[in-house]
Amino acid sequence: MDFNTLWFLIIGFVLTVYVITDGYDLGIGILCLFTPKDKYKYRQQLIQIIGPHWDGNEVWLIVFGGMLFAVFPRVYATLLSGLYLPFIVLLIFYMIRGISIPLRNRYNTGRWLSFWDLCFGISSLMIAFFMGVVTANLIQGITLNESGLMKLHLSRLISPFSIWMGIFSTALLCMHGASYAARKCTEDIKSFCRKAGLISWLLMLIFAVPAEIIVLRNNPADIFKNHLLLFSLLVILLIISVVYIPWGFKSGSFNKTFAASSLAVGRFLALLYLYFYPNLLRSVEPSQNLTIYNASSSSQTMIVTLILTIIAMPIVIIYSIYAHRTTAHHNLTLADTSD
C-alpha cells in the first residue's frame, strides 16, 4: 500500500469517527425539535447528555479539515472554494449551534429556552441535511475546469437526489442520536427516545434503499468486479446492523443499539469510500477527476504528517475513551438536571 492510499484510509477513518461522534449529538439536537409536552425537562436532559462531549466531537471535523489541507491540499482548496456559499452557510449553522448550548442554560424562562432550543434544533437539522446534500453532489460528480477548480451553481446543488440524500442523512443521524440518548437518559425519557429511534429508523430505511441503488448503479469503481469481497462484507454488516436496531430499541439493550447504529453509519461511509477510491472529487469529465495521486501533497509532507498522526492519535483515542468512561459512571439523575 502506498502513502496516498494509507492517507485515504486515515482521512476516511477520521471522517467516520466524526460522523459517528458528532452525528449522535447532531441527532440529539434534531430530537430536541420533537420533544413531547414536558419539553424543557426532556431537552434539558438531552442537552446535558451531550454537554461534556459535543465540543470534543467537533474536533474530529477540524482534524479532518487539517489533514485534508495537509495531505490533499488541492481537494481542500477546490472543494471549499467551489462550494463557497453552501460551506459558509454550514459554518454559520455550526456557530449558531455552538452558542445555543452555553446560552440556553443561562436563564430558566420559557421564551429564552424555547428560542435557544429552536436555534439548537434547527441548526442541528440543517447541518445533518446539508451533509446529505453535499454527499449527493459529490456522488453525482462536479464540473472542474482546466485549472482544477470547480464552480457549482446553487441550482445544481439542490436537486431531487440531493434533497433525497439530505432527508436520508437527517433520519440516519436522528436514529443515531436517539440510540445514544437512550443509553444515558432517565427512565421516563427512554420511551421517547425509543419511539423517536424507531420512527427515524423506518424513515432512514425508506430513503436508504433507493439511494444505495443509485450509488451502486452509477458505479465508477466497478465495485462488484474489483472489491467484491469488501462489498459483500459491507452488505453483511448492513443487514446485521439495520436489522438489529429496531430490535435493540424494543428490547432496551441500548448500548448494543448504539453500537449497531454506529456500525450502520460507518458502513454507509465505507460504501462511499469504496465508491470513490482512488478518486477524491469526481468530475463529470473523468479525466479531470482529482485523485489521491494527482491532488496529494509531496511524499515528505505525507510522511511527516503520518508520523505526527501515529504519535498523537493513539493518545487522543485513549483519553477520549477515558473521558467517556469517567462521565459514564455518573449517569444523570433528575436531581442533577433540575437546577
Binding site: 454537554g51 461534556p52 462531549h53 465540543d55 470534543g56 467537533e58 474536533v59 471535523l61 477540524i62 482534524v63 479539515g65 487539517g66 489533514m67 489541507f69 495537509a70 495531505v71 491540499p73 488541492r74 481542500y76 482548496a77 477546490t78 472543494l79 471549499l80 472554494s81 467551489g82 463557497y84 456559499l85 460551506f87 459558509i88 459554518l91 454559520i92 455550526y94 456557530m95 449558531i96 455552538g98 452558542i99 452555553p102 442554560n105 443561562r106 477548480l149 464552480k151 501533497s297 509531496s298 515528505q300 509532507t301 511527516v304 504528517t305 505526527l308 498522526t309 498523537a312 492519535m313 487522543v316 483519553y319 477520549s320 473521558a323 469517567t326 462521565t327 455518573h330 442533577d336 437546577d339
Partner: protein, 443 residues
C-alpha cells in the same frame, strides 16, 4: 470592490472576533490553573469560590472561542484557495497538528472540567484543567508556527509553481517563531491578569466577597506586573530585532524610517501621512532605533526609500496600530508596577480611584492584542507568504465578489449577535458575583 479585498476584510473580521475570545481564554487559563491549584491545596473557601467563578467565565469564553474558531480552519479553503493550493504542502501540517495535539486535549478535558466539579475527585478535576491549559498553550504554539512561517518562510523549495516541503523542523522553528510565540503568550497573559484584577476590584468596591477579591487581586496584580515587564524586555526586544533582520519592509513602515541610515532615530510622536509615507509633527531620538534593531547604535537600518511603494505595507495603518500597542504596553507596566507598590505598602484597598482605573482597564489589553495582530498581519503585506506569494495571488479565483460580500454580511450579523451575547453573559456573571459553595453549578 474586488473579491481579494473583500476576502481580506472577511479574514480580518473573522479572525479579529475569534482572537478576542482567544486572548481572554488563553490569558485566563494559566491564572485559573493557579487558582484551582490553590483551592485544592489550601482548601480555602475563598480560592474555591474564585475557582468556580473564573472557571465559569473561562468556560463561556472558551465556548465562544471554539464556535468562532471553526470558521478559521475552513476559511483558507473557501476564500484563499490560491494560497491553500500553493502552500498546502507546508501549511496544512501545522493545522492538522494543532487539531490532533491541542484541540482534542483542550476540548475533551474541558468537558471533564465542566462535568467533574463535585462529581469527580479533586485530583481528577485539577488534572482536567491542567490538560486544558496545556492544550490551549500548544494550540497557540501550532497556530503561531503556521503564522510565523508565513512571515519568515523556511524549509521549502518551489517545484512546478508550488511549495514543496523540504525540512520540517525549519518550517516549525522558522526564524520568527520563538519571539512571536512568547510575545503573544505573554500579551494574552496580561489580558487575563488585568481581567482578573478589574473583576476583583469590582467585587471589592461593591463589597462582595472581599476575602476572595483581596486574594485574586494580589495574584493578578503581581503576575500582571511581571508579565508586563517581560513583554517589554526580553519579548518585545526579541520581536523588534527579529523583524528588523527578517522583514525590513515591515520594520521600516512600523517605525516610520523614511531613509536608510546609520544611527537611526526612534519616533516618540508623529502623525502618519501617506504619499509619500512620512510623519508630520514628529519627535525623534537619534540612535535608539539602531540600538533596538541590532543592539549597536551605529548599525544601519533600512528605510522605506530602499523599497518600491508597492513592496511596502500600508504605512499609516501599521504605524498607528504599532505605536498604540506599544503605548498600551507602557501603560500596563505603569499600572501594574504602581499597583504592586500599593500592594506592598498595604494601601491598595484604600485607593479607590486605582481600583476604578483597574476596572476601566479590563478591555485595554484585548485592544492591544488586536492592534498587535493588525500590525503583524498588515505589516506583512503585500505578501501573504513574505517574499514568496502576493496576497492578490492567494485568493479563490472561482469565488465572486458578490459571494464574498454575502458571506461578510452574514458573518457580520452573526458576530454582532455573538459579541452582544458574550458581553451580556460575562457582565451578568460579574454582577451576580461568586456563588455560595453549596450550590451545584451548571455551565
Amino acid at each position: 470592490m474586488d473579491s481579494v479585498l473583500l476576502s481580506r476584510l472577511q479574514f480580518a473580521l473573522t479572525i479579529g472576533v475569534h482572537f478576542i475570545f482567544v486572548t481572554l481564554s488563553l490569558g485566563m487559563v494559566w491564572l485559573l490553573l493557579a487558582v484551582e491549584t490553590l483551592a485544592w491545596r489550601t482548601k480555602d473557601p475563598a480560592w474555591e469560590k474564585a475557582g468556580r467563578f473564573f472557571g465559569r467565565i473561562f468556560v463561556t469564553t472558551f465556548a465562544f472561542g471554539v464556535v468562532t474558531g471553526l470558521v478559521m480552519e475552513f476559511q483558507f479553503g473557501t476564500n484563499w484557495a490560491g494560497f491553500s493550493d500553493f502552500a498546502g504542502d507546508v501549511f496544512g501540517t501545522p493545522l492538522a497538528a494543532e487539531g490532533m495535539i491541542s484541540f482534542f486535549l483542550e476540548s475533551v478535558f474541558i468537558g471533564i472540567y465542566i462535568f467533574g466539579r463535585n462529581r469527580l475527585s479533586r485530583g481528577t478535576h485539577w488534572f482536567s484543567i491542567l490538560m486544558v491549559t496545556l492544550g490551549a498553550t500548544f494550540s497557540a504554539f501550532w497556530i503561531i508556527v503556521a503564522n510565523s512561517w508565513m512571515n519568515t518562510p523556511d524549509g521549502y523549495v518551489i517545484e512546478n509553481g508550488r511549495i514543496i516541503l523540504n525540512d520540517f523542523s525549519k518550517v516549525i522553528f522558522s526564524e520568527s517563531l520563538w519571539p512571536r510565540f512568547f510575545h503573544t503568550i505573554d500579551a494574552v497573559f496580561i489580558a487575563g491578569a488585568l481581567f482578573m484584577a478589574g473583576v476583583s476590584s469590582y467585587f471589592y468596591l461593591k463589597n462582595k466577597e472581599t476575602a476572595l477579591a483581596v486574594k485574586t487581586l494580589k495574584l493578578a496584580i503581581i503576575s500582571g506586573f511581571i508579565a508586563s515587564v517581560l513583554e517589554l524586555f526580553p519579548f518585545g526586544d526579541m520581536s523588534a530585532r527579529q523583524i528588523a533582520s527578517t522583514q525590513p519592509t515591515k520594520f521600516a513602515a512600523i517605525e516610520s524610517l523614511e531613509k536608510t541610515q546609520k544611527g537611526a532615530p526612534i519616533v516618540l510622536f508623529g502623525i502618519p501621512v501617506e504619499n509619500p509615507p512620512h510623519l508630520i509633527l514628529d519627535i525623534r531620538v537619534p540612535y535608539v532605533l539602531s540600538l533596538m534593531a541590532f543592539h549597536d547604535i551605529n548599525s544601519e537600518v533600512k528605510g522605506m526609500d530602499q523599497f518600491e511603494r508597492d513592496e511596502l505595507p500600508p504605512f499609516a495603518l501599521t504605524f498607528t496600530t504599532f505605536h498604540l500597542m506599544v503605548g498600551l504596553g507602557m501603560f500596563f507596566i505603569a499600572l501594574t508596577s504602581f499597583g504592586t507598590l500599593l500592594l506592598h505598602k498595604g494601601w491598595i484597598f484604600r485607593t479607590k480611584w486605582f481600583l476604578i482605573l483597574l476596572i476601566v482597564s479590563i478591555p485595554l489589553p484585548v485592544i492591544a492584542c488586536q492592534l498587535g495582530w493588525i500590525t503583524t498581519e498588515a505589516g506583512r503585506q503585500p505578501w501573504v507568504v513574505y517574499g514568496v506569494l502576493k496576497t492578490t495571488d492567494a485568493a479563490s479565483v472561482n469565488v465572486s465578489a458578490g459571494e464574498v460580500l454575502t458571506s461578510i454580511i452574514l458573518f457580520s450579523l452573526l458576530y454582532l449577535v455573538i459579541m452582544i451575547f458574550y458581553i451580556f453573559l460575562i457582565v451578568t456573571d460579574i454582577k451576580r458575583g461568586p456563588q455560595p459553595l453549596n450550590e451545584q453549578q451548571e455551565y
